[in-house]
Symmetry: C2
Subunit: 125 residues, 2 copies
DNA sequence: CGGAATCCGACAAGATACTG
DNA sequence: CAGTATCTTGTCGGATTCCG
């Protein structure tokens, strides 16, 4: 897969659309972090809230709702007291993992550009 | 690659960071669209402006500058009248293509969730 | 425990006008 | 042609409060 796939062939407009749809699905400050945790095992709401550094209750709820609406997480409510809600993977989530993995490998290979290093520094301060 | 990679293993914090770096690099409303065009062949500024539907001069310039700063596009200025500037790929861009391709395949396979369909409709109106 | 509702600031993104 | 500069608008995400 070291040869560019699209080189010297015509642009296919429908491929734009696919690309943009995929990006829309995974865009959101905390979504991939959520999915990454779920890849390891199902998580409860409070568990996600404690584990993901910097996320607020508000945002966690919203991102989970969007993921659920997009079919990227399952939401299971247990009729208990106190209430328990568990989030897990779907077929679509599992199918996405190779793409996420490819992104991570690329990120590791090509290091940290100056702009990203600056942002990471700003986040630490 | 149909078996989840991370299932039942511990979360590695450094993998979060890689994921987030990669996402930061490709986040930006028009970046992947730009890269996708460049995968086919080098493009001039005005060419990108005309081809990418909905982008403004302002945003195109900014996204190109960020991509350039991150080492994801080359910018070649020809000393001619009228001026000509051409954008092309780098090694990092080429290395990213498999990941983009994986995202597109996933997008095609898992169709269009309701939320995305609604956004696409809103964009048409 | 796992949310919902409301308010608000910051920054991303668009519109418009001007330039080497 | 390929940008800058400036102003305005819109959306994302955060803080706080309340609830079954």
């Amino acid at each position: 897969m070291d040869v560019p796939i699209a080189k010297n062939r015509d642009v296919k407009p429908e491929e734009y659309a696919e690309l943009r749809r995929a990006l829309t699905l995974i865009s959101g400050k905390w979504k991939l972090e959520i999915l990454w945790l779920l890849y390891h095992r199902p998580h409860r709401f409070g568990e996600l809230l404690r584990t993901i550094n910097g996320v607020t209750q508000h945002m966690l709820t919203r991102q989970l709702r969007e993921l659920e609406a997009d079919g990227l997480v399952t939401r299971t409510v247990f009729a208990e007291v106190p209430p328990r809600v568990e989030y897990g993977m779907t077929d679509a989530t599992i199918a996405l993992e190779p793409a996420i993995w490819a992104l991570m490998e690329w990120s590791r290979e090509f290091g940290t550009p100056a702009r990203i290093a600056a942002e990471a520094k700003a986040a630490r301060d």
